[in-house]
Symmetry: C2
Subunit: 364 residues, 2 copies
Amino acid sequence: MHISELETPAVIVDLDVMERNLSRVADYCRTHHLLLRPHTKTHKIPELAKRQIASGATGITVAKLGEAEVMLDAGIDDILIAYPIIGPEKTARLARVAERARIRVSLDSIDAARGISAAAARQGSKIGILIEMDVGFERCGLSNERDLVNLAHQIAALPALEFKGITFFPGQFGVEPEERATLRTQVNEILERTIAAFERAGLPLAVVSGGSTPTAYEGGYFYGVNEVRPGTYIFNDRNTVAVSAASLSDCALSVVVTVVSTAVPGHAVVDGGSKTFSSDRFQAGDERGFGIVKEDPAAEVERFSEEHGHLNISRSERTYRVGDRLSIIPNHVCTTVNMHDEIYGVRGEQVEEIWRVAGRGKLR
Amino acid sequence: MHISELETPAVIVDLDVMERNLSRVADYCRTHHLLLRPHTKTHKIPELAKRQIASGATGITVAKLGEAEVMLDAGIDDILIAYPIIGPEKTARLARVAERARIRVSLDSIDAARGISAAAARQGSKIGILIEMDVGFERCGLSNERDLVNLAHQIAALPALEFKGITFFPGQFGVEPEERATLRTQVNEILERTIAAFERAGLPLAVVSGGSTPTAYEGGYFYGVNEVRPGTYIFNDRNTVAVSAASLSDCALSVVVTVVSTAVPGHAVVDGGSKTFSSDRFQAGDERGFGIVKEDPAAEVERFSEEHGHLNISRSERTYRVGDRLSIIPNHVCTTVNMHDEIYGVRGEQVEEIWRVAGRGKLR
């Protein structure tokens, strides 16, 4: 099928670019002796997770237990659930999943650990635990090394759990190279102090897992890290380009849309809005705009209604007509893919693959 | 099933409040001799569309052809697709839908009209057309009455189409009562001028369709309007309350979440973020915050990661513990429901109904 035959809006992925993205990060990890455990929240597609493993990943990361179940059903059996699993139903499901796969869970409280331990002991399964540390993003994670070591001791004493190491997410890394260098120094100081505390306590850290796509090529510089979990790198997006972790030509994913109205002077409306792209903001500069029109970078994706993308074309030299097709690189691919039941892999102008976003909606 | 048995995150709808919301708008429309054609993009659930019809709606509105197909399959046969349908595949599907139901489509270009006419003529079906006019929101719609009348003449001459009237969306109505009154005067002037132009041209307007939830109780004040299309009113949300179209006690929908981390001082993290709530901003005041914690209004829903809701609890007197359950009223219910495969109708503490969000993902 030719791209022009796809009804719009349609998410397409350039397979050549995606394959290059996969190789580049895999090569970087090989060179720097880092295990690669991609975060599959970006696509939630088992076929792509398998491709990541085939290109060198050691296993995968997911955000939700429901995503782990989908990936496991597709035959992927080494999964980090980078999320505390809380509550009797969820921990029971987790314990069942852990019977069929090597499962690790990250958490930052003894309450979470006790719940998982009880369920796993009941089921007779074993679950690896990573303790989440906060390195400045202030989301989840303990920041004090005594608290971290204490929790590890408590976890080591609980049945059916295996303390494996620590994990962090450097989500505060922004655009400015100088600021990033300063942050890296700060994170490295925290890591060094923490790892030393675990050594003193006689608790070996098999895993020190960190990183994100914005820091994908800095993994080798993080003190003590032996595993990274980039997600966005498989596709890249406007935000990834803004933090210089990719160039525009590395953006594999775009959304094909159709112009449905040109009635308002200086504007054109396309058939995708916040329910097609998400309303995630641009994370750099003036935070303006919701994407890049590949065929016409002078057009600004100014705002979204739910099903309308408002293009400001007042600075454009192109003529816009109802029925024209455009492709737009979104601000944030992870939340864009999450809006769709299926997306398309294309090579040149040909649609080669149709992938079901099997993990979408598995929020629990 | 008791609410406490639902795994989180879970979207729940208070049936008593929802039924009151449905009655109130239906009563308003009866009193003011307005046809009510609710926009079902808010829920995308055929069972709720049927309840809206049972409570007095004349038919429904949808945003996308795929949503119309879902509603038609569920037995709803009077549907306005408030969106231009463009392209050979879509117009062919539209023509088939129109064989089974009374279908109207809104558009603002002769290109859109020609495509629909050709497909309907081929299929032997008949499609009602509303021309969209812009009353100041500057999204879709013609603003000049000569252009509107010209397009209507052209449509009247095309086979298989029936020109039915005009439609508008007053999306620019904001928070300030004074500003709203000024805008209403402006919109009424535009409407009066436009309706007069159609009368002079000998083109009767069977339908003058306008309105939204923020203007739901102003429908009776819009010049010449005989049909309104509110959507959000069935549930209401933080934005609806901000424009005084509802009070907090009219908010029927909330998302039950679980606290998964309290490790960062002054913060608590719940198990729903932008992939549970959407990242739609608050449309009033300082635009801050992503929802209201019903159990603790002093907690600020400060930011969302994809699966993390970051609560700032530094001004709260409540103690937050991992495992606590909270319910959060979102900024925007339409984009929140769109994240879920199913949502729950509750009465008191009991889950009475489970609805599949059957129209979710029907983007084409």
